[in-house]
Symmetry: C2
Subunit: 344 residues, 2 copies
Amino acid sequence: MVRIKDVAERAGVSVGTVSKVINNTEGVSRKTKAAVLKVIAELNYHPNLYARNMRAKSSRTIGIFVPLINEPYFLPFYDGINKRLEQIGYTPILFSGITQQSSEGTLDLLSQMMHRNLDGLIVSTYGWDDATIAKLARMAEEIPIVSYKRKFEDSPIHSVGVDDFEGMYRAASHLLQIGHRHIAYMNPAPELETSRQRLGGYRQALADHGVEERSEYIVDCPSYRIMDGYHYAHRALQTRPLPTAIIGGNDTLAIGVMKYLQELQMRIPHDIAVMGYDELPLAQLMSPQLSTMSLPTEAMTALAVDLIVGSERGGEPARHHAFDTKLIVRSSTDMTAKVHLDYP
Amino acid sequence: MVRIKDVAERAGVSVGTVSKVINNTEGVSRKTKAAVLKVIAELNYHPNLYARNMRAKSSRTIGIFVPLINEPYFLPFYDGINKRLEQIGYTPILFSGITQQSSEGTLDLLSQMMHRNLDGLIVSTYGWDDATIAKLARMAEEIPIVSYKRKFEDSPIHSVGVDDFEGMYRAASHLLQIGHRHIAYMNPAPELETSRQRLGGYRQALADHGVEERSEYIVDCPSYRIMDGYHYAHRALQTRPLPTAIIGGNDTLAIGVMKYLQELQMRIPHDIAVMGYDELPLAQLMSPQLSTMSLPTEAMTALAVDLIVGSERGGEPARHHAFDTKLIVRSSTDMTAKVHLDYP
């Protein structure tokens, strides 16, 4: 079993310094703190939670809020946060519990959170109205709050996300580079800023490859759920020439599209290639496996936690942290791609 | 918006009685309480949480504990509990947060729970050791605890589960009835009682159809994870005659088997049929869609909640509630099955 002195030794600091980092008390430089946290992670050190909670002032509890937990993106998100919290001996509390989240219900939950002495909050604000976001911004004056994916200008809310314009630009470029010229795009929840960025990346890629954009190839979907891809895919097939490839603005939409095409006995990628975005573990379970853009979820969620744990209340102004995506080519766009399964 | 008097009217009781049910105070018969809860569910009535929390003695909070949240079974389980809690105006708190749960970590979390004034706890005890279960039993003397799937003899812990012997008996019988005689079985975590029951059902079905059991067709897997199905499937193919069908003791194992067979370019169900058990939403996203036995997760989780909310501390002895499974025939065993997608 790893003990605190093992951590101190490896990090080259005193046991007292490690203890300060664990209890998040002052008097440790940012650099030392980072080094100690790294060693804690490497050694998989678990401070004695119970004894420590008695001493520390902070609740060592972070709230996680997601509007809907039965979304495929939820698990990697929650899992990433948990991994990081476990490393530093914090406990997560999940607020959600609701399959069809109402604005009233969200406000209720936010009020409840403020009574729980949380050290901070990581939220996915998908579907929130302005009043709810205003409430969140007021809360962010009191406890550190990190928004996942969505960014807010001139707000006390931190955010971690990806460069969606660049990500979708590269997704579309992959298809253009292997010869596709008729590429449909399933546009999830067009009112979202992330969706606008992705759509912009798709358009720019077409333009840069000298391919004329056709509005009939852009299919707006009400949300990013699998069933939307399934129900709206037929619209992408109403245009002539038929698209030779379809991009889902999310993996979930792409998976719905695949299921629809397979019902029509269309072969993927021979008849139509399908490309996703925002890699889900699910993508590699599909047949054929789904090409996608991978988000560094683990790094993003770790930073979300670190922004809270490292926050001095009223300290640094909030800002947006953008990560890069990575192209994952699988057999839904390239029939020579090697099959690989590594499900969590 | 539905109000308390609408509930009272429809249930044929006074507003005071509805209020008592909502606040879980005494003086309402079991029958009336059940009737009121039913109307609350039907009308989708949401008591004003905030005002009510001020008045009520109970915390109106139920803890949910799962060893690993990144398991496919987690979402339907959590979702079902949430739906029911939402109907009765309770809040769930999820304890887990940990991807590789240790026994020490579990005991820590259980201690934390007891300090949170929970009304009760719903737990999945997969992988727990005896010491941890003994601790849970001691906790069950103080707050109502419901175990999901696993039952305990002579224990204060309630449980809801399914008749796994009968369920797997019917899964195997489906394959036998469509002509299979060489049926392999992927046996998840053989030490679990649920696994023993399922294996027993498979064996009994063979015996009742006059098919000789072959031990080489039974492949023990360390857990029920997708990757176990994927890594252990080759063992089912080492025997001659080759099996014409493989049953996964869980959908996850069956999905892993499918991915392995597809890497070998084997056609499902033409070369080998694949059957799952314990339906996951994931099963219908597979190509071909996976035949399985469906568990009434919604009814099971609703009962788990009701057992807690309806519990008088120190009242009725705990018992096991067993539900029936349902056969879902899809194209992984029957190529004429109609494709249907209804993802949550």
